[in-house]
Amino acid sequence: MPVIDISKDIDTRTLTITAEFAAPVQRLWDLYADPRQLERVWGPPTYPATFVDHALTPGSRSTYYMTSPEGERFYGFWEITSVTEPTGFAFDDGFADADFAPQPGMPVSGNAVVFEPAGDGTRATWTSRYATAEDMRKVLDMGMEEGAREAMGQIDDLLAEIA
């Protein structure tokens, strides 16, 4: 497992996750810079992502959609807020309508990723932050397969407590 560290801050609703990869920093950068590679990792296999526009330049907007097993599309965008090629970038991730216009009232998460050399490989650290608990809930409700599985695990936990 490449994940080496995780920290969660309940008060700021922030997840920080660090992983190491057996590839140079430039390779990680290239993966994120190339929409065809990025879409293969952004969505789970059951909700594959398709990036329509994507460029890692400050102020640029990336657009993508994720397709549910039933064929329903969930549209999203990234607003690239800062870029330090090739060691990282920051972006806001939000929900969009079918024309990729941001959906008012829908949550936007603040995200950053930093790549640094670690031995022969790369250590990558992601930070993801939501403004409110309600925002997090909405995001987790919106077609995230992993999230749904966890939610079902939770109800099983809850039932185990009752039993």
Partner: protein
């Protein structure tokens, strides 16, 4: 726990004390279902299933909305989720992404050229 919390816990535990209602919860937590499609999943009358849905709704475990002739039920994930557990869910999402990155890098660790043929992602070089 104050009285309100106790009342809420009573309603919650009562709602979940029934096998069919637990099964309904698993379905509606995974996504919105019409009450009629839920009813079709069980060997009981539509009215009986509707009654179960109403118990879950009163306990705050699901919410309903109307869409034409359909009544659509969605699990109130809030009711079973704390901020801590939501962070756990986000962790699962990011772990999934990290695993996929690792997999992709393992297949082409030093490749600098772009993937151009997205229609056949398994094709290398």
């Amino acid at each position: 726990m104050d009285t309100t919390d106790e009342d809420r816990a009573d309603a919650l535990f009562h709602a979940l004390s029934d096998r069919t209602r637990r099964d309904i919860m698993r379905r509606v937590l995974a996504g919105e279902h019409s009450v009629s499609s839920l009813a079709a999943s069980y060997d009981m009358s539509f009215a009986a299933v509707q009654k179960h849905v109403a118990v879950l709704e009163r306990a705050g475990l699901l919410s309903k909305r109307r869409s034409g002739r359909e009544q659509l039920a969605t699990g109130e994930v809030d009711a079973v989720r704390s901020v801590a557990s939501m962070l756990d869910e986000l962790e699962a999402v990011w772990r999934g992404r990290i695993d996929r990155i690792d997999e992709l890098l393992a297949r082409s660790p030093t490749r600098l050229t772009r993937f151009t043929d997205s229609s056949s992602p398994d094709k290398e070089t």
